[in-house]
């Protein structure tokens, strides 16, 4: 049973509402033999148990992928995936990547020019050409 965002019953007003982590699942792929997986294997052995225990809302899967570089794949509630190759990285460097995946929204990367969005209607209302006095040209 995968994590699904709760259906909106009430409308949150300007950030006053429940926070839901966008990352619902993380896959960890490693290779037993290859040297590029050395850091990944160390991460899975030493750091992942604590990280997984600290994030019960995320589902974790660990599976080998022989003769391939190590990869972490994040799955998000919007249905998108984000994969990061962690070849030749140290365990602490991998932890940074895992945190990045955890904090990501799952959306495509794009520049955010207006960080604040509001769903409230404007006090002035929406302009309409059929209302008002009209403009004399």
């Amino acid at each position: 049973m995968t994590v699904v965002a709760l259906k909106q019953v009430t409308t949150g007003r300007n950030g006053v509402g429940a926070f839901i982590l966008q990352c619902k699942k993380m896959d960890f792929h490693y290779c037993d033999w290859a040297g590029s997986s050395k850091g990944m294997n160390g991460f899975i052995k030493s750091i992942l148990p604590k990280f997984a225990a600290a994030h019960p809302q995320i589902e974790f899967t660990v599976s080998p992928r022989p003769s391939k570089h190590p990869v972490i794949i994040g799955h998000y509630i919007n249905g998108r995936e984000k994969a990061i190759c962690v070849r030749n990285l140290e365990p602490l460097q991998i932890l940074k990547k895992v945190e990045l995946l955890r904090d990501a929204s799952g959306e495509k990367l794009r520049r955010v020019t207006k960080p604040v969005q509001s769903i409230n209607e404007s006090v002035r209302g929406v302009w309409s050409p059929y209302h008002g006095n009209g403009i004399q040209v």
Partner: protein, 414 residues
Amino acid sequence: MRRLARLPSSPSVLPTSSTTTGARTAAASLLKCELIKTQNLSSARPNRQTWQNGIQSQRRCLSSTSQLAATEKTTPGSDAEAAAVVADEVVEYEEEEFVQRRRAKKSKRAPIQTDLVFPDAIKGTAAPGEVTDPDYVPAESGLGLEEVGGLEGWWDNPQHWGPSKKYVGYGPREKITEPEMLEVLTRRALTEAIAASFFSQQEKRPGHRSGKLPALSTIEPLKGDTIKTTDKTKLELKADGTPRLATVGDYFRILQVLRRPPPRDEATSLPVPPTPGITIWKARALLKKWQNSDWKSASLADPALKFHVAKRLYYLTGHMVPDAKLLIVKTAGDLVAQVVTPPQPKKLIEVLEASELPTLPNVQMFPRRVTPVDKEKMVGRWKIITKELQQRDLPIIGTGGYGKAVEKKWAAGN
């Protein structure tokens, strides 16, 4: 190679002379001899004729010195030709004598004793005219006739080789692989090599009376009592790490072991390969007993001792340490590390099973790669997919021999 017969120095045939002309002609003949030799040597592959000529020329050279001097007195003008004629006569006489002597020697030679199985003597069959069988019809061609006899493949049959021709390798039949047994046997090899190198040094001293030490290759294979001897023997390390046995009695106890005759198979009298003669449990018990001992740090800086230990270890365990590796072996512990195969590294999944990770409710672990089929099975779609594919007579896994879409190629304009 034929041996050269020595010429008898008969005064009638070969008179001696010390005149100056005689010496000069002798020098000339020697020069001629050298020229002939050079000619023979210069040809890369001389045939048999050339070789025989060379031998004869050499013989002529050997016998011509004083004989030429004698002939020169009578006919100084044709000295070389006359000398050659006389020398040829002498050589012919010698060759005849040589052949007779060789024949006599051959007839006296005992028959060769061997356990090889030879084929039977050739059997003859009756000629077509002598056959009494009325049904016999001689064949008109060889086609379809059965082939009988022949020596083809005779030596490919192992039964035709005698037991003495059986290959007996150096060391045990199979390599010993258990690390504990290898460690015990390395210590045994070390103690015996110390004693062997000590007594071999004693042998080199003048006036020793201990008798010759047997070669290390012929030492008795491993027995239980020998392990006891090794266990009883105390190793000591000098200040520079050189190992030695604690008491003189230890040296002589091991010498007794080394001097035992090597066991041989009664039937074939071939040496018997050594057997371990020790169980893994016994080896573990011994290692537990020796764990406080520092025998592994014994220095093998002395090359003689190092080679003794390596050779003995090869005989006892079947592990030959190559020279390149011997170079980096400094102590007995290094030697153990060379022969012991490190254990296979554990897989990550095996390590994780012992950790707290599988106990977490939000963690799943898989021992092998998760394939697309596995993913379909997890969500319960695989049965449906299989059923639908079967209905359409399509391959369930793989492409079923269908190639890539040709239309793609057309669209790309390739």
